[in-house]
Amino acid sequence: DAGVTQSPTHLIKTRGQHVTLRCSPISGHKSVSWYQQVLGQGPQFIFQYYEKEERGRGNFPDRFSARQFPNYSSELNVNALLLGDSALYLCASSLALAGVVVEETQYFGPGTRLLVL
């Protein structure tokens, strides 16, 4: 079975532009989460979606938004890009929510590396 897939793998944008990152979860997984990993740091939680509903939001500005589609894939959108948005963006999927199945394991995709110039 395919793991979590993300597209594109790399992206270069300029300040002020908008970007859309895409994620397809493992087949059968209904939860998708997004994380930002700045160079030299651990990943930081941005959003979690389950069954198309937002279930969690991290401490990121409103320029960041996301949605989940009926097929459980997801998009992360970032508006008005800043230099500080340059990072590896990771998508993760899980079968269920940890509030229901506490031992649920989260699997990560390879990430999209975004460079803002």
Binding site: Y35, F45, G56, G58, A98, G99, P110
Partner: protein, 116 residues
């Protein structure tokens, strides 16, 4: 608030020697702890988790971790290191949200170098 700390930026070990990557945690409630590994230009790979039960957790690629409640630690170990184990290792704790969702809170990471 849930948090984890990885006190070492880097760990160096010779191939064939045992390795330990340290992690301490601070949680309210039950700790749900994880280890992930990241290879260059790759995403995170799940190694193992502690939810409840035995304090010694066995995971992928020969790794194991010991949960110690009194010392609030969850150190990653391997009896015999391989050069291919060289990577960035993250300790993480799960924070379950009021919505039933969850977020994973990561440490800063520890870079492991295994020398041949």
């Amino acid at each position: 608030a849930q948090s984890v700390a990885q006190p070492e930026d880097q760990v160096n070990v010779a191939e064939g020697n045992p390795l330990t990557v340290k992690c301490t945690y601070s949680v309210s409630g039950n700790p749900y702890l994880f280890w992930y590994v990241q290879y260059p230009n790759r995403g995170l790979q799940f190694l193992l988790k502690y939810i409840t039960g035995d304090n010694l957790v066995k995971g992928s690629y020969g790794f194991e971790a010991e949960f110690n409640k009194s010392q609030t630690s969850f150190h990653l170990k391997k009896p015999s290191a391989l050069v291919s184990d060289s990577a960035l290792y993250f300790c993480a704790v799960r924070d379950i949200l009021d919505t039933g969702g969850f977020k994973t809170i990561f440490g800063a990471g520890t870079r492991l170098f295994v020398k041949a």
